[in-house]
């Protein structure tokens, strides 16, 4: 009997082999073309050092999830950054396009794999970020409307945009060619 019970308890392990298939809504190139039509994009990937991470966290108040910054320099000016935030069960992959003045030009949800909360893909909700700069409040129920029933995703995407604006200010804004 006990061995059968142990088998029951171990059953979730069988699910390892059934990892969720990603719902990819947009590829990076598609998101780039939407944000900066006709522009070309030069990868400018780089690792964040300790001082940069500390400064980003100080400015944004948001924990830096990954030290690998995936940023592209835009031929017409500005930056395109792809990143991830924590979702309910998996990571949410998103992108932020920042214009040459440091303001958000576009936010896109690239991959979303949760059962609920994909209202963060709604264009009207994402449009709230357009024009936001480093230092903006970017707080739910304040300058960003919460999506009831999708609060975790709303907050994490909002925090993610805030963190990438700080990342731009700390790492990319001074990288002018």
């Amino acid at each position: 009997m006990r061995s059968r019970l142990l088998w029951l308890a171990a059953a979730p392990v069988a699910l390892v082999a059934t990892s969720a298939m990603a719902k990819v809504y947009l590829g990076v190139e598609q998101a780039q073309a939407l944000a900066f039509p006709g522009a070309s994009f030069a990868p400018a990937f780089r690792p964040l050092n300790d001082a940069q991470v500390a400064e980003i966290q100080r400015l944004s108040g948001v924990h830096v999830l990954s030290r690998d910054l995936k940023a592209w320099r835009v031929s017409t000016g500005g930056w395109f950054i792809a990143d991830q935030v924590v979702g309910k069960h998996e990571f949410i992959t998103f992108s932020v396009a920042i214009d040459r003045t440091g303001a958000v030009k576009d936010v896109e949800i690239l991959e979303y794999r949760e059962s609920y909360g994909d209202q963060v893909r709604n264009s009207a909700w994402r449009a709230q970020f357009v024009g936001k700069r480093n230092g903006a409040k970017l707080r739910l129920d304040d300058d960003i409307k919460n999506i009831s029933g999708a609060t975790l995703s709303s907050r994490h995407v909002t925090d993610g945009v805030k963190r990438l604006l700080a990342t731009h200010a700390v790492v990319l804004a001074s990288d002018v060619r």
């Binding site: 029951l8 699910l15 969720a20 298939m21 609920y116 909360g117 009831s148 029933g149």
Partner: protein
């Protein structure tokens, strides 16, 4: 229904899970509730299997099954309905080595083994969340669960609290609850009893989809409907690990709680103590081994 058939049923369910293109869900803990509720208009089906395993001696397997449907009335108010049924297989389980005690009818011959599949009743549940852990300092919700059955009628009320850390990957949860019940005692009519319990849980999402944690329960049983210490029968402590997989449509949670220690406050209850744990009509050594499988629907 034999245990092996139940295990085969679970195996079949797991095979179906594996056939899905993606998996999802909730119920981070086996026993402790978080303040998460279903979004408005969404529903979820859950199957619970709980084995209350081992008493003082002999053999004791009390396998409780619960089939549940949860529905989000609003984004902060959820209702559920349960169907409860169980399979009990016991022999010489009591402190005295006889077949009697927890869920075994009083009119059963204690010299003989007991084995039965039975219907336990239906229950409903409502959860009202007043604070969300994702935008308020803590999550806070209130829970009520009435249950009606042939052997027990009860009402359970809980306060659920939740605090998240580390981008919501670390979840701390606490439940304080009380229950008043009327339990049918063969030949003696209906007996009043009440309970209060504190449940604590901590779970960390250590990789996408997977969380592992610990759960603790302190269960306090009373005769009558007042939580006065003079009426207290016992206090018992349970502790153990929990593992959760949540994907897009399915979730699975497995929890194993072990009775660490108990203290009896009446002669009747002291007679049910063995190895520092209380058995009798109330508890088991593993109390319990719980598996929850859930599927969410749009």
């Amino acid at each position: 229904m034999s245990i092996s058939k139940a295990a085969l049923g679970v195996a079949a369910a797991m095979t179906l899970v594996g056939a899905q293109p993606a998996v999802a869900g909730e119920a981070l803990f086996g026993y402790v509730y978080t303040t998460d509720v279903m979004p408005k208009g969404k529903y979820e089906v859950e199957q619970w299997i709980t084995d209350r395993e081992g008493q003082a001696k002999g053999r004791f397997h009390d396998v409780l099954m619960r089939s549940e449907v949860e529905y989000g009335v609003t984004d902060n108010f959820q209702v559920s309905g349960y169907l409860n049924y169980s399979y009990l297989n016991a022999s010489g389980n009591s402190v005295a080595g006889t077949t009697e005690g927890l869920d075994i009818p009083a009119d059963h011959d204690p010299a003989k083994p007991y084995r039965k599949f039975r219907y336990d009743g239906v229950s409903a549940e409502a959860v009202w969340r007043v604070l969300s852990p994702y935008k308020d300092p803590i999550g806070l919700a209130f829970y009520v669960e009435p249950e009606i059955g042939p052997r027990e009628n009860a009402v359970e009320v809980k306060i659920l609290a939740q605090k998240n850390y580390l981008d919501d990957r670390l979840v701390l949860a606490a439940n304080l609850w009380t229950e008043v019940e009327k339990e049918k005692v063969e030949g003696e009519g209906w007996e009043k009893a009440s309970v209060w319990e504190l449940d604590l849980g901590a779970s960390y999402r250590f990789r996408p989809n997977w969380s592992a944690g610990l759960e603790f329960r302190n269960h306090n049983e009373y005769t009558g409907w007042t939580l006065d210490h003079s009426n207290q029968e016992h206090t018992a402590f349970f502790f153990g690990p929990t593992l959760h997989y949540g994907g897009e449509r399915w979730f699975v949670t497995a929890t194993a709680l072990y009775q660490l220690h108990a203290k009896a406050y009446s002669d009747d209850q002291r007679a049910q103590i063995a190895h520092g744990r209380v058995y009798g009509d109330e508890h088991t050594t593993w109390d319990g081994l719980r598996l929850k499988i859930g599927r969410t629907f749009q």
